[in-house]
Amino acid sequence: MQFQVIAKCNTTRARVSRMTLAHGVTMLPTFMPVATQAAIKGLTANQMQALGVTLILNNTYHLNLRPGLEVLNQAGGAHKFQGWDRNLLTDSGGFQLVSLSKFTTITEEGALFASPFTGEPTMLTPEESISIQHIIGADIIMQLDDVVSSLTTGPRVEEAMNRSVRWLDRCIAQHEKSGTKSTQNLFAIVQGGLDSVLRDRCLDAMIARRNGVAGYAIGGLSGGEEKDVFWRVIKQCCDKLPEERPRYSMGIGFAEDLLVCVALGVDMADCVFPTRTARFGVALTHDGPLNLKLSKHAKEFQSIDESCPCPTCTDKTSRAMLHHIVTHETAGAHALTLHNVVFQAQVMGRAREAIIAGTFPDYLKQFFARYFGDAGYPEWCVNALRSVGVDLLEGTPAAKIVSGNGAKWEYAAINPQ
């Protein structure tokens, strides 16, 4: 990997970087759409390329089950299997083991779980996770970490943090001897729950291992914790992580979360939200999400967003037509998926432009003003951005502020018609 920071924001911790991997260049900060099962929902690899996406994510846990390593090996890796010749990232499979299987138990050796096919007890060790990811062949691979929910408290959090560090050593060792280091890049995952002392110890330990890792992910978040705690952990990690390594915030996808994270110093993020919400009929826009299932859209002939460069909007697909087909026709889901993937890319692309131009704080203010409008700013966003020198309320002291986790959008009102 070549990682080069090419510009920094003068106010916040945001930065623009060029990350060169075996399958091309990805400009950071970026959002990675999730192709859990080796396909972005309903789309083809070519379509994703045309959207200007250069880095997507596959899930190791899923690919290991289907199609399985034998098939992936025979296919020549996941890139060839899915016809994707740009960059690819895989997770370690650990998160899914814990979130999808009730019976997973963690031992020092690895994660013990019941095989979804046979019910047989099966062990996923750090070494095995890395070997599986070698066969999948992604450009960025993740260490196996000991995942605990961000709501967990007590000694288990510390245990998981310490074990994640030990497992990182095993992952590094496994990766070192693989011979794929020139094409595959191992990321560490910082754990430590919501406890700043544990986070700090984890950061120290993992930064000490920097020569064995190409980048750092911030794990153990997005599990239902208070947003005001979430951003503080992100900030703590970003402040301490080395400049010359990309930082990846896992499971982040709402536009406000993305921009706050970028301002705190995050370079990469992923989430199923934009593609999943598309299937429920929600289009993301700079004016907030639109739930196209609502009957108020039935007679609207304008596109989702006239300034959006996505195929759905440049084709002037009307909201009325989308209302007619979303949740009935897969073609409706495809139209919104195309749009939402582009929306995420635009949010990040405009951030890059603004950072380069030295106007990132203005971009943040404009984005939040338009996106939240009368709904009010989430208080945690205001707090988080203040911590890096941007006051969203500057000039608009009367602006509405919403406490808790923020505005309730149309996508929350899931009742159609």
Binding site: V16, N46, G52, A298, K299, K316, H324, H328, A331, A335
Partner: protein, 544 residues
């Protein structure tokens, strides 16, 4: 404004015929060689295809839109498109609303989905019962005309009084059916009768988006070329009577109203045959339903003018298609069955004429089947991908679909500080061919319920059917003897029992029912297998 024409290379009444449909637009002529295909839509969209995929499919040149799903609203939403700034009824408003390209696509409009054979409440003297998502609606001939005028499709199917009730029709019912069908055709063609009264809800609706229009009266009163269903169901007598009524000289007030037409048939651009109601009203015998349907169609067409296109809906196999080409001289076939096969996970694999003869073959592959788990070949054996490995090429024609012969995008979107200038990457070169998507990949997508599988399969299946028709035309050109020979060979090589499609459909239904437990499953059981929106609705709604 466009003009529609159809020409035959030789005036064949019954038997294989070569022709071409031409739609002349101010900017371009769209030509469809016949025998050829048209694609079907569901809720106005080609199932599983995003608009960019519709456009890269060369097989999609004509799409039919069943309008009934739009009758959930009054007035139907597409009728308001022409009132929007930048559109007018002179500029293909239906294309605009649905996203079809006037320079590439012929769009026809039928009231009902010809594949829907569910029982329906009886039609009346002045309405057809149609199915919308919110239940059964009544559609009157005058409303139909006003919708057609507002939407301006390239071709319209006249309303037909086809009973979807108990198939034991009485003589009286048959007489009524053909009389109504003729009367409804007449009212569609009658431009002198007053336009329907403005809809009460129109004012409110229109004010939403545009301030200067306050009624739904279309500015364009033109009726596009009319295709007419040949009525009479399974009764030769009724069929003959219906055709005769089209050829009778018009008289009295009707003649006056329909001037300059001298008989109803003068207002008809083409004939359609809907197989769903026909099949349900003839007895299945060992010789197959075709052997009973063919004589009925021959009866209908015996006296009608030869050089008008004949379009048949809801055929289910290449064998059936060959039969209707060979024995009747049908020109156009909808592709509903190959599109459906894509839902079930079937990649079609047949060719005409048959190049290789090695035992009995299936017409496709059920890619759900575990045998494809490690199969990295292209989707068909009969066709290859542009980049298929050398040893596999032989003399095989290329399948141009986006699954077998994908082409890299010629452009990409840039989002901000990511152009080649910044990234240092090479500029996007001209589009290049990419390796085919493999059976193993689609097998995987099917097993993981990924919708991309269906998009790729629809594109492929349409391409296979399109290539089949190209082969059919080539053989027809070579004359009667060659035709008979090749049809015979096709029947020997490809299994007409369609086991692979049946098996895949069964499996698809099981999986679908298992996944759509509860409310959706109950909806499904009401619709059996013919529901228009059933397939995909479930897929989208329950996938979380």
């Amino acid at each position: 404004m466009s003009t529609f024409s159809f020409s035959l290379q030789s005036p064949t009444r019954f038997g294989p015929r070569l022709g071409s449909v031409v739609l002349k637009r101010p900017s371009i002529d769209i030509e469809i060689a016949t025998p050829g295909l048209l694609a079907t839509t569901s809720r106005g969209a080609v199932p599983h295809l995003s608009r960019d995929h519709v456009r890269i499919s060369d097989a999609i040149r004509w799409v039919n839109v069943s309008f009934e799903t739009f009758l959930e609203h009054n007035p139907p939403i597409p009728t308001l498109q022409a009132l929007q700034p930048g559109t007018s009824s002179a500029s293909n408003p239906l294309h605009t609303f649905l996203g079809f390209t006037p320079n590439k696509h012929i769009v026809s409009m039928s009231a009902r989905d010809p594949h829907d054979g569910r029982d329906m409440p009886p039609n009346g003297n002045a309405h057809v019962s149609v199915q919308s998502l919110r239940g059964v609606r009544k559609l009157s001939p005058t409303d139909w005309r006003s919708y057609v005028q507002a939407c301006q499709p390239d071709i319209v199917f006249a309303l037909s009084d086809t009973p979807f009730t108990d198939p034991q029709y009485s003589q009286k019912r048959l007489t009524k059916s053909i009389e109504r069908s003729a009367a409804w055709l007449s009212s569609l063609l009658n431009l002198k009768s007053p336009p329907p009264p403005p809809k009460t809800s129109t004012k409110k609706v229109v004010n939403n988006t545009s301030s200067n229009v306050d009624t739904l009266i279309p500015t364009n009163t033109r009726i596009p070329p009319v295709f007419l269903h040949l009525a009479g169901i399974a009764s030769p007598g009724a069929r003959k009577a219906f055709s005769d009524s089209l050829l009778e000289p018009l008289s009295g007030p009707e003649a006056e109203a329909l001037l300059p037409l001298s008989k109803l048939d003068d207002g008809v651009a083409g004939y359609t045959i809907d197989l769903v109601p026909l099949k349900s009203s003839v007895e299945a015998t060992s010789t197959g339903v075709e052997s009973q349907i063919v004589p009925l169609l021959v009866t209908s067409l015996s006296a009608l003018p030869i050089p008008k296109p004949r379009l048949i809906t809801a055929t289910q196999s290449p064998h059936e298609i060959l039969r209707y080409i060979g024995s009747v001289g049908v020109d156009l076939f909808d592709a509903g069955w190959v599109q459906k096969a894509a839902d079930y996970g079937v990649a079609l694999d047949f060719e005409f004429p048959v190049r290789r003869t090695s035992g009995l073959r299936e017409i496709g592959h059920n890619l759900y089947d575990v045998r494809y788990r490690m199969d990295f070949g292209a989707l068909a054996d009969a066709l290859r991908g542009t980049l298929s490995p050398q040893e596999d090429i032989e003399d095989k024609p290329v399948c141009p679909c986006a699954a077998c012969s994908p082409v890299s995008p010629s452009t990409r979107i840039f989002h901000g500080h990511d152009t080649p200038l910044v990234s240092g990457e090479e500029e996007q070169s001209s589009p290049r061919h990419l390796p085919h998507y493999t059976r193993a990949y689609i097998h995987h997508l099917l097993h993981t319920h990924e919708m991309s599988a269906h998009a790729l399969l629809v594109l492929h299946n349409l391409a296979v059917l399109d290539a089949f028709f190209a082969g059919v035309r080539g053989v027809i050109k070579d004359g009667e003897a060659r035709w008979e020979e090749e049809v015979g060979r096709f029947g020997e090589v490809y299994d007409a029992r369609l086991g692979v499609v049946e098996e895949a459909r069964e499996r698809w239904r099981e999986v679908d029912l298992a996944r759509g437990k509860g409310r959706l499953a109950r909806e499904r059981s009401k619709q059996v297998d013919v529901g228009a929106e059933a397939v995909v609705g479930v897929e989208v709604r329950i996938e979380v």
